[in-house]
Amino acid sequence: MVEGLIHPLNIFLLGLGGGFLIPLLYRLSKRLPAVAFWAALAGIAALSAICFWRVLEGGDAIEIETAGSLPPLAISLRFGVAEGYFAFLVNLVAVLGAWQLWRALRESYTTLLLYLILVMGINGMIMTRDLFNLFVFLEIVSVATYGLFGLGRSPAALAASFKYIMATVLASSLFLLGAALLYHVTGTLSIDEMIVRRELIAGPVGATALILVLACLVIELKPYPANGWGLDVYETAPAGVAAIVSVGVSAGVFFALLKLLPLFEPHLTLIAVSAAITFLAANLIGLRQANVQRMLGCSSVAQMGLLTMALALLSQSGVAELHMAFVIGGLFANHLFAKAGLFWLAGALGRERIRDWNVLSTGAPFVMVFAALLVAIAGLPPFPGFWAKWELVMRLAASGDHVWIAVVLLGSLLEAAYMFRWFCRAVGGQRSEDATVPALMRWRRGLMPPAACVALLLAGGVVAAGEAGAASAWLFAPLAAGAVLLAAEGLPGRGKCVLMLLLVSAVGFWLLQGVGGISGLFGALFLAGGVVIASAALYRDDARHGYYPLMAVLLLSMIALLRATTSLEFFFCWEMVTLASSFLLALSPPARRYVLQFFLFSLAAAFLLLAGFGLVAATLGTTSLSAYATAGPAAAPAFVLLAIGCLIKIGVIGVHVWLPNAHATADGDLSAIFSPLVTKVPAFGLFMVAYLATRSQVGLELAHVVGWIGMLTAAGAALLALHETDMKRMLAYSSLSQTGYIVAAIALMSHLGWVTALYLVANHLMVKGILFLTATAIIYRTGLRRLEDCGGLARRMPLTFVVSVAALVSMSGLPPLAGFGGKWLLLTAMLQKEWYGPLALGAFATLIGLLYMFRFGHALFLGPPKRELTDVREAPAALLVPQFVLLAGILLLSFFPKLFMVPVSAAIDPQFASTLVWQGMSLELIYAYWDPTRAIVIAVVIAALGWLALWLIYRGGRRPGQVPGVARFYQFYRAMLAPLQKAPVERFWGGVAIAVERGAGAARRVYTGDGQTYALQVLYYVIALYFVAIEIPKW
């Protein structure tokens, strides 16, 4: 008995029966329709869940025959794994959606009825195997949708609904005609039979019929430019209705396309091109939207484009069914829950315009759910979209579809741009951070369904990771640590900090077990440096909501990255670092305006890595990183992409615009993590790329270019640092300059270069850690950020002064401290390689470096003491202790270099081919062989001459009557560097942004708002499809 009830056909019984029963029950009692509605809806969801579970557990697909006959005489339906997956997920969303929409739904029993019929119709579209029956379900869904649109009462909503009706009625009329003609040529309406007899679909009638059916499905998926009617409805319909149209109705139509795809085999390229245009254009147009729901509509249209494009391309290249299911299933589920959740959030907040969104007062749960859904929709880890997009890129790379990879990544970048701009605006309001405190645990009404979406997405992400073979405990350990700290968010600030440090130490130590070589060295630096610098956060006793969980995720992801053995794991950790640092940045109110820049450049870098990994995997047939060493010259383009990705993330000159602002405006102790520590992650990436490139003998000549880029960065950033008056921004530029040296050292591709690079990494990490904490302490005690405003602090903050001077000396590369060991070695190594250009740049950068570092120390600590700074106290111990620990590290590195050099040499040695110059030589030998004294003498002489020249120019150029002085000297040169402020680089990126915005503005001119124009666009689109399909039959 019970067994008989659990049958997919009963979904229709519940839908239709419930639909008929509801009006009757209303006559009996006004409460009964709600009971019947929930019973029927829950029944539908439960039935699909159970049946899906059964077919998943190895049961055969459930074939449903009706009317006692077999197809083609009767309608048949199927409930297999694919149908079960789509139906179950849609029904799940439908239940959540009804919960969200409940206030509107319960007002009238007709809306309950319509909602139920809509859900049943979508199930029908998914399950039916009969072409005409598909039309019937399509119309049932359409009519129910039209009815639900009636919930929107405004004239705009009514008008939009009417436009929607016009366009979809036109499309379904074409479907009807196409289906009838297909029946005429094939003699059957059964989809399976039709696929068997598809060669009968020929000649003018058959071809036209096929195009008509295809055109209807494509139109229903809202292709650009014939989709204005869809966007209008997304904008004006109640959020809950827009959500179910965006994810539910689209799911039904998409599944119809999926099941008819064998018929459309000759037109797969056409489908892919049309979907790609939609994906790019919709995401471009999304950039210009001011209305939240319209923007979500753009994203929705784009995501359906991506799904369709993936479907067409993957079936064209004959990808195995399992991979196909992974990509399509992952992208579908990701969009389904993330988009529905976002629409519901929009509904819960009830603000139409993006500029009215100020979510900080809505409470932490709201912000977290909001952020998680955005991360999901952008296809970032740990959500299913990440794994699916990775697999998609891998498959496209394997079939050589490189242009398509570019389309996928470019569209995703545009989508991330407007989605995260929305987030930045929503959290960038003027409210102080404290506004969130009382609201910490406040659960807004309507937040539960979106929160459930996040939970489902997380579960889906773990399942997808398992399917992708990456579900290891260590990979998710950073997130787990973050979750633990999130649970402890109620503790006082310092308690959370201590807990975070303990957790990071323990988990980090565990993560590093068995990690050796260069990775092990970086790991030790990241863990020790991270814990020491992060402990500076103890100087604050405020709650800092969200800071500690994110910090744990950031530090542990950096460490986990070193453990990666496959490019997928590497990329996962890389994206986690990007996400954690972006959200940390968003926690600092002054930094919020730079978060978007920071995020987008990071994402662009990540996407280049993704493309590079895809190309390597296609050449080598594996994602294992250790196999990269066997790559031949064929992998050269991939290595170029990987290198460019790392260089963008480093922020080399030309793509540096995003970095200094972010690092300068973040909270003090956060910039002390970012600038010294997080910038080493792409440096490590570059190391790996360079190492693999060396091993695989590809692109060694590329190293010279990278060397130039590195030194140009070192010199350019040094000039910018010299020009800067904001102390933290100066340090940020200085970090960039130092990273330039590291890049050049890596590019040397020699043992010496690499020892130097690692040496510089360690030294810079400690030095810049100290200096950023110094800046933090000064800003904390004085509230001043500009160098000129300070002065004479040496007496007030003697300990800070001492530790800063030591750091400055070390960074300047002056003897006897550690920077000396690195920088001169680097310059002489360049001499050895006959890289005279980079060498000259390096010498210049070093000279400028001396200038700005002297200025930093002089302006802050020496110089005339400012009267208002007389009662400034020494920095808090919480800031001093990490600084002195770092100083101890510098001293250790300086006077006992062997402690560091032996493991470094050991880590590098086995990895070098014998062709390289410094194989097997320990650093002591190098020192002995090289006798750096000569180099140092030359360099010091050059530097002294440079100083002298600069001073003489200053004396000659200053206005008569001015008393010469250090401050004036710098002012003189700052004025000369003023043009840097309006550097062409900044203008270039500004121009790119404006051009993209203008493109978006032009692309959306097609949306005139006129229903007839929209209908005409639909007609033109169909005609265009028809002519392309007829003219280029192989498309």
């Binding site: 005409f132 009417f162 009329s173």
Partner: protein, 122 residues
């Protein structure tokens, strides 16, 4: 006997479809647009019926006069007719929904010109 009836039907249907499309696109009045859609649908229905026509065929009623074996050759295909019946019902309900929207649009703006309803754009 010259032109088979199916050709007449096909031509009529296609003409009606064009007339319907013209009605949809050439008129600014929402009621006329809805009538255009109805005519378009009627045209499609006639074309569908026409595709099932078999010249000199008989009614598809299988009995002594028309054995099963012969039905395939000499009976009119009943399926398009069955489809058209369903399509008519669907078209009816869609038209009803459109008309109800027309009423509400008129209530909102006191006009039935589609030019008055271009709020959302770009």
């Amino acid at each position: 006997m010259g032109l088979p009836i199916s050709h007449v039907l096909l031509v009529t249907g296609l003409l009606l479809m064009l007339v319907g499309l013209w009605g949809v696109f050439a008129h600014r009045n929402i009621l006329r647009i809805i009538i255009g859609f109805s005519i378009l649908n009627t045209g499609i229905h006639i074309v569908m019926v026409a595709t099932g026509y078999v010249t000199d065929g008989t009614a598809p009623i299988i009995d002594k006069a028309l054995p099963v074996g012969e039905a395939v050759r000499s009976a009119v295909d009943p399926i398009p007719a069955a489809l058209v019946v369903t399509a008519i019902v669907i078209g009816f309900s869609v038209t009803a929904v459109m008309l109800s929207y027309a009423v509400r649009l008129h209530q909102a703006r006191k006009t039935l010109s589609i030019d008055a309803f271009t709020e959302s754009k770009w």
